[in-house]
């Protein structure tokens, strides 16, 4: 139960993504009385994935609310509460279940500020695990980044590291607009080093700004969420062969930080995007289209390509599942093809 903590000399600690999310919510609940959390099993069960562990014990029934298994109903209730002056965090046990409530996310939350010409804002966060997990099969493995990223009026955020999780969740909760916060179940238990600055109560990561996780000159890799880990692993392998990859962590899906990607391409002249979701009309598709339409196109020495999940519903058997999502070797292969080596 105790998080993996290891105190280093410089005040840095190791914090798992789960604990980073937990601490961010705890601090924001303490900071603003209007913030509250609702969802299935978030209170007495400590969270289906233990992300909200300890919060109910600390804040009680009023602020940490267990809901029945009725996504459309409780998502709508959360949106209504946001309209009337509260700041709800609405948890979907996974984003697959958000499909039941997607009308409330899009039509009631995202569009209302525009339809009311600025009279009615909706300060809400929808959060939960997104994308593929391990062995949970087709109905529980879909990535919704592209679906939500499609819609104006939403901000869509996809953290990778513990620092991302902490800073972006705090920003999302403090943001006065609907934010879809896409976590990843397989990342929850992964520890990351966290500096003292990141541990401070007002550490925020601005929504809409990407981060360069690794500098490089030969090719730009753009990705989000768990795939960043694979990109960095692939980059380490490629570095031994003299290929230096620049890995960009999108952090935010919408608004997309196209400028960061363009600046990188102008340096490296090559682009490969990496995502866990399906290829058609996906994250990579949007990035490639924007690069084509923008100033960076002229800097490309080869067509930009996408590495994506396979265009099938997610199978169950381990070997099949492993071959349904990008592996490190797929990224290495695509990089080398793009660089023609």
């Amino acid at each position: 139960m105790a998080s993996l903590r290891c105190f280093l000399r410089s005040g840095k600690v190791f914090v798992t993504v789960r604990d980073a999310l937990n601490q961010a919510m705890d601090e924001e609940l303490e900071r603003d009385e209007r913030v509250f959390l609702l969802g299935e099993e978030v209170a007495q069960y400590d969270g289906a994935y233990k992300v909200s562990r300890g919060l109910w014990k600390k804040y009680g029934d009023k602020r940490i609310i267990d809901t029945p298994i009725t996504e459309m109903g409780f998502a709508g209730i959360a949106v209504g509460a946001a309209m009337a002056g509260l700041r709800p965090i609405c948890e979907f046990m996974t984003f697959n279940f958000s499909m039941q409530a997607i009308d409330q996310v899009i039509n009631s939350a995202a569009k209302t500020y525009y339809m009311s010409a600025g009279l009615q804002s909706v300060p809400i966060v929808f959060r939960g695990p997104n994308g593929s997990s391990a062995g949970v099969a087709a109905q529980h493995s879909q990535c919704f980044a592209a679906w939500y990223g499609h819609c104006p009026g939403l901000k869509v955020v996809s953290p990778w590291s513990a620092e991302d999780a902490r800073g972006l969740l705090k920003s999302a909760i403090r943001d006065d607009n609907p934010v879809v916060f896409l976590e990843n179940e397989l990342m929850y238990g992964v520890p990351f080093e966290m500096s003292e600055e990141v541990q401070s109560k007002d550490f925020l990561i601005p929504i809409g700004k990407a981060k360069i996780e690794r500098q490089g000159n030969h090719i730009t890799l753009v990705s989000h969420s768990r795939m960043i880990s694979l990109c960095l692993d692939a980059a380490a392998v490629l570095a031994k062969e003299g290929i230096e990859c620049e890995v960009i962590n999108m952090r935010t899906i919408r608004p997309l930080d196209a400028e960061a990607i363009e600046t990188s391409i102008m340096k490296t002249n090559h682009l490969v995007t990496v995502e866990g979701g399906w290829p058609q009309f996906g994250i990579g598709a949007e990035i490639l289209a924007r690069i084509m339409e923008g100033p960076a196109f002229n800097y490309l020495d080869a067509p930009a390509v996408r590495v994506t999940g396979v265009d099938i519903p997610m199978p169950y058997a381990k070997n099949l599942e492993d071959n349904s999502i990008p592996q490190i070797k797929d990224i290495i292969f695509s990089v080398k093809k793009t660089l023609n080596v």
């Binding site: 109903g73 709508g76 039509n107 009615q120 804002s121």
Partner: protein, 393 residues
């Protein structure tokens, strides 16, 4: 407050029961301080409720005139919208409320402006009772910059303080309303939320999800089903296995009320509000009402019901006529007085229509505004990659 002499008279109430009432007489030439004790001869149908609303209501002259004026304004406004729609000055969806005025006016009379209200797309009447002006409502219908939503919302998306629209997706407003009620309870200001939906929406799953949570968490929510007998072209018998909408909340107490009688609606709303404010949780009201127009302006409204039926409701149960007759026959107001109100209302509507047809459309540089609240200005992609539009909060 002038003292008046009291006189006891006995009247026969339909059904053969005699009741004694007190009637205060004032000088017939001066209608001030006139109060009417009105007795309902129709009891409300109750579901899991010990007591219904009182069988009598007190209507003051001032209240009577105010309800009359508001209902008449609502009626004329909707009829003007009909006209403008046929002239193609209003376009898209337009769902008119004429016939149902007693619901909106009666509900508002039973709550405070500090309470909250949400409804579906047949919302022009509520926008008015919740503080919108006829001018800004009509200008929103015609899509002009002076509209209540600056022309960006249209008929189904009008908002005012503590009024959350105007919602286009059938049934979606019900969980939203319960959420508003949750905020009311959370913030502890003794406010409640009135959450309206129609007989068509009443079969939606999310409404039952909402009943469950509102009841579990004792949210101060008055669910109101405006049963106008038709969900678009489908009569209630063809849509609902049980048309006792006031019972559909199951564990939620309910009552069924004559929605054409503004006093009935008011008294029922007061009872419901008291129920919520005393912490007992949600309550459900079914208002039996009728719409003269079709579902929307694209529905003539006569393929699924007869003109005779519409005419019968108009002649026997029109909410405005009923209130007018009640006030006149009890000497609460004079014919001339009510006519004067009619004239004033007509003028207000004409002025508003004039404004709504001459006010310019929103400026093109408003196109991309109001995406996000409290955010720095940002760029929005136009229809092609070279067009970058500006967006401010």
């Amino acid at each position: 407050c002038r003292k008046a002499s009291a006189k006891v008279i006995t009247i026969n109430v339909s059904g053969g029961n005699s009741k004694e009432i007190f009637e205060l007489f004032t000088n017939k030439l001066v209608f001030s301080d006139f109060y009417l004790f009105y007795i309902f001869w129709q009891k409300c149908d109750l579901h899991k409720l010990e007591e219904g609303p009182p069988l009598q209501a007190v209507l003051s002259r001032e209240e009577g005139l105010q309800y009359y004026r508001t209902m008449q304004t609502m009626r004329r406004m909707e009829l003007k919208a009909d006209q403008l729609y046929k002239q193609k000055i209003i376009r898209g969806f337009c769902h008119l409320y004429d016939g149902q005025e007693a619901c909106a006016v009666g509900i508002e009379a039973g709550i405070n402006l500090s309470d909250h209200l949400i409804t579906a797309y047949r919302a022009h009447g509520y926008t008015l009772t919740r503080g919108g002006t006829v001018r800004e409502i009509m200008a929103e219908l015609t899509g002009r910059r002076g509209g209540i939503a600056k022309g960006k919302g249209g008929s189904m998306h009008m908002y005012t303080k503590h009024f959350y629209g105007g919602n286009g997706i059938v049934g979606a407003q019900v969980p939203l309303g319960a959420g508003v009620a949750l905020a009311c309870k959370y913030l502890g200001k003794n406010e409640l939320c009135v959450c309206l939906y129609g007989d068509g929406a009443a079969n939606q799953g999310q409404i039952f999800e909402t009943y469950n949570m509102a009841s579990l968490w004792k949210l101060p929510c008055i669910f109101i089903c405006e049963n106008n007998k038709y969900g678009m072209g489908t009569s209630v018998e063809r849509a609902a296995a049980s048309t006792d909408y006031y019972k559909r909340g199951d564990f939620i107490p309910g009552l069924r009320v004559d929605g054409m009688d503004v006093l009935c609606v008011r008294e029922a709303t007061k009872l419901a509000a008291e129920h919520c404010r005393s912490g007992k949780g949600p309550i459900l009201m079914e208002l039996q009402t009728y719409r003269y127009h079709g579902h929307s302006m694209s529905d003539p409204g006569v393929s699924y019901r007869t003109r005779d039926e519409i005419q019968e409701v108009r002649s026997k149960s029109d909410p405005i006529s009923m209130l007018k007759d009640r006030m006149l026959s009890n000497n609460m107001a004079s014919v001339e007085e009510l006519k004067e109100i009619d004239v004033e209302v007509r003028k207000e509507i004409e002025d508003a229509a004039q404004f709504a047809t001459t006010d310019p459309e929103p400026p093109l540089d408003d196109l991309c505004n109001h995406i996000f609240y409290n955010d720095p200005p940002m760029e929005v992609r136009g229809t092609n990659p070279w067009t970058k539009l500006k967006s401010v909060s």
